[in-house]
């Protein structure tokens, strides 16, 4: 039990845990103190100073985010002294900030702009120093753009990259007025260990770090009558998009999203969940093959544990940090890339459309998907498999641009042929989802029975812990998989690359005996992805997660292998899971990269 202390904030008495900060305490009283460098996902930095408050009886203006309460403390959050100080702080930040807001991608969704609006910073009291800084713009990466002239040096991005992801692509370099957020040796982001996860973009309070957007390119494709523009939507988009368009956090907007996409002018609105189901069949089969080859045939070239390969941030992370474990990655492409490869082959053939006339667009909660689509490996259809990747945020911008009243849209259904999905496909959007979906299918393939969990909900792999483990015992398998009788399948689930490192170190040390590992680069899985609405914090991730599992429960089919369109594609096009045709289109290889 924590000791309680008595304090007052703006004259209101409050009894509060002594380990709380002034900011936490004020929140309990529903008093808002503005913040910039503070973020619920990150450690306290206390460097921007906009959260200063007055401590009565002292000369101090402590930073509310970084100062713990103590007994008898009297705090004023809105005294004249505080207002003046705060206003000056904002003005000073703006003096070093490229405040051409109308020419900024984050215009309308910028924490600094909001503060400036709130405090009505109209006159420029301080000399503007932006021009003196010689700021650079880095737009070499297909995923992320960095504009130092918009940076307020709050270091949220640096803390994000270090604390949530353990990647440390960004650092604080130089000092004083020359201090800047930099990569190693000020190289372009595309040349360093960056995984393109976009968590820095999601945590940046200004327009200093943004996704590279492809909105205009997509509008152009849509307006070209020669082109058949196909769009796919990732599972996590439907539980995030509503936040950008007026709905409460955690609202599922699947039907409205489909309706909006049709109104935007896409020729076919299809579902990445379809290829998520396909991924399960390919990846589940691959796992069973690997188990057979490793346990029965004792083939030394077959590596266990097998790791999932859906998250492109995780793929690039392992390429940089653990290249010796690349053979452990499932050879399956991510659902996005499977979809892309099939759109310009299977779909084109069935629909009798020339693949060169198809533009394939995907809506992803992710910035790393932009990089993934740009990989030279991803041209197995004979064309670029996925032409443009938009984030959830970019889709919201397009919907607003089109003048669509999103909240009033009717619910509509995905188009057919690669639009059918199951609950198993939906849960790809949450950490543990790929594992759960794979287990639902693999267990049934092996034993002929459903997984022994109530309502198929494998709760052991769900949740918010960074690293979770689960075991599932295989009993009475069918004849083909008899060698698995009594085998306890050991699984691990990690999300956030800092936890990926933990699981990889366990594997490396030989202390673990996992068979199957799921890793998602972003905290919470894709629902907390770098391309999701800003803000994203622990509470918001939790609500989106509940929405994902509710969506799963609401689906009539909840096992990937029962998806009728998946059955159909194997019958008419791919043959069977893990076939030669599958390998040609749906599987790939990755390459080691430099760690430094």
């Amino acid at each position: 039990m924590n000791e309680k202390v008595n304090i007052t904030i703006n004259g209101v008495p409050l009894r509060v845990d002594e380990n709380k900060t002034i900011l936490d305490a004020a929140e309990e009283l529903n008093i808002k103190i503005p913040t910039l460098c503070y973020h619920k996902d990150l450690c306290v930095a206390g460097n921007c100073r906009v959260c200063v408050v007055e401590q009565v009886g002292t000369n101090k203006l402590p930073a509310a985010c970084a100062t713990p309460v103590h007994d008898g403390m009297e705090i004023m959050t809105n005294s004249l002294k505080v207002r003046n100080a705060r206003k000056h702080i904002i003005e000073l930040l703006l003096a070093e900030h490229n405040a051409e807001c109308t020419k900024c991608y984050k215009n309308g969704n910028c924490e600094l702009q909001e503060l400036a609006a709130e405090y009505k910073i109209i006159n420029q009291e301080f000399m503007n120093l932006v021009a003196d800084h010689g700021c650079t713009i880095d737009d070499f990466s297909p995923s992320i753009m960095k504009d130092d002239s918009r940076c307020i040096r709050c270091q949220r991005c640096v803390r994000t990259c270090a604390e949530l992801q353990g990647v440390n692509a960004l650092t604080v370099a130089y000092k004083g007025s020359e201090m800047k957020i930099s990569t190693f040796f000020e190289k372009p982001i595309s040349d360093v260990v960056c995984t393109n996860c976009g968590q820095c973009v999601n945590h940046c309070p200004t327009g200093a770090l943004i996704e590279k957007n492809y909105i205009e390119e997509v509008w152009e494709a849509i307006s070209d009558p020669e082109k058949h523009v196909v769009v796919q939507t990732a599972p996590a988009v439907r539980v995030g998009l509503g936040e950008e368009l007026g709905f409460e956090v955690g609202e599922r907007v699947t039907g409205k999203m489909v309706a909006a996409l049709k109104r935007l002018g896409f020729d076919a609105v299809l579902d990445t969940d379809f290829t998520a189901d396909l991924t399960i069949l390919e990846e589940g089969t691959e796992l069973l093959h690997r188990l057979k080859e490793a346990l029965v045939d004792k083939n030394p070239d077959v590596k266990l544990p097998m790791a999932t390969s859906c998250s492109p941030g995780w793929i690039k992370y392992i390429e940089h940090m653990y290249p010796e474990y690349l053979p452990n990655l499932s050879s399956c492409k991510s659902p996005q890339q499977m979809f892309g490869a099939l759109v310009k082959t299977y779909y084109a053939k069935e629909r009798k459309i020339k693949p060169e006339n198809i533009i394939s667009v995907s809506i992803m909660p992710c910035t790393a998907k932009k990089f993934e689509a740009n990989r030279p490996e991803m041209h197995d259809s004979g064309y670029r498999d996925v032409d443009y990747v938009l984030t959830t945020r970019e889709l919201a911008i397009m919907i607003k641009q089109a003048g669509i009243e999103f909240m009033k849209l009717p619910d509509e259904h995905y188009d057919r042929l690669m639009g059918e999905s199951t609950g198993a496909g939906v849960i790809f959007g949450a950490t543990g989802g790929v594992m759960e979906a794979a287990l639902r299918t693999a267990y049934e393939i092996v034993t002929g029975r459903e997984v022994p969990f109530e309502n198929l909900n494998i709760t052991a792999v769900r949740g918010e812990d960074g690293l979770r483990e689960a075991k599932i015992k295989i009993e009475n398998p069918v004849k083909e998989w008899a060698f698995l009788d009594g085998v306890e399948l050991k699984c691990a689930v990690a999300h956030g690359l800092i936890n990926a490192r933990e699981v990889m170190e366990l594997v490396k040390s030989g202390k673990s005996d996992y068979h199957f590992i799921e890793v998602m680069a972003c905290p919470g899985g894709c629902l907390g992805g770098g391309g999701q609405p800003i803000p994203t914090d622990p509470e918001i991730r939790k609500r989106r997660m509940e929405a994902i599992y509710a969506e799963d429960m609401g689906m009539p089919i909840r096992k990937s292998h029962e998806n009728p369109e998946v059955k159909q594609i194997y019958q008419s096009f791919l043959g069977q899971p893990y076939s030669e045709k599958s390998h040609e289109l749906l599987h790939t290889k990755y390459l080691p990269r430099e760690r430094y």
Partner: protein, 156 residues
């Protein structure tokens, strides 16, 4: 293994491989090589098992841990106010004129680099400059020409 790698391994052995030993290791490299190269930073990062970006962040914070290739003699002329009032301008002109380089540049033979520095603490004997670790004060353009002439005759 080249000499930089050997040097870094020796330094890591001497100071230890904890993160907190980063600074003395960087200093050790700068002492030997006059600057810390990209290559050296990566080697340190490997040796200490830490992100290369953090080595860069730390090195770039300190003015005297240069990460661009420096000449054999690094001339640092004080740019702060006491020296400025006593004629840093003329000192700078004399140096640039004699070495035919501007601030921040290195002579083509790689012998001299000219930089500016913050206060050296010799305000009472302004203007002042450093050549590597040696301080020169009460400078005048004639005195600078004299000093540099001696350095130019010196072997490395």
């Amino acid at each position: 293994m080249n000499s930089t790698q050997t040097l870094i391994k020796d330094l890591a052995r001497q100071y230890g491989r904890d993160r907190r030993n980063l600074l003395p290791i960087i200093q050790g490299v700068v002492e030997q090589e006059n600057y810390i190269s990209e290559f050296a930073m990566i080697e340190i990062a490997k040796e200490l098992n830490m992100p290369a970006s953090d080595v860069f962040g730390t090195a770039s914070f300190y003015s005297f841990l240069e990460h661009r290739k420096m000449g054999f003699y690094v001339i640092r002329v004080c740019k702060t106010i006491a020296c400025a009032m006593k004629g840093t301008n003329q000192i700078m002109h004399a140096i640039e004129d004699m070495l035919k380089v501007k601030i921040g540049e290195t002579t083509p033979d790689g012998k001299f680099t000219v930089l500016q520095t913050n206060c050296l603490g010799w305000c009472h004997k302004a203007p002042a400059m450093l050549i590597n670790d040696e301080v020169f004060t009460d400078l005048s353009p004639e005195r600078v020409r004299e000093i540099l002439g001696e350095y130019m005759r010196k072997n490395r």
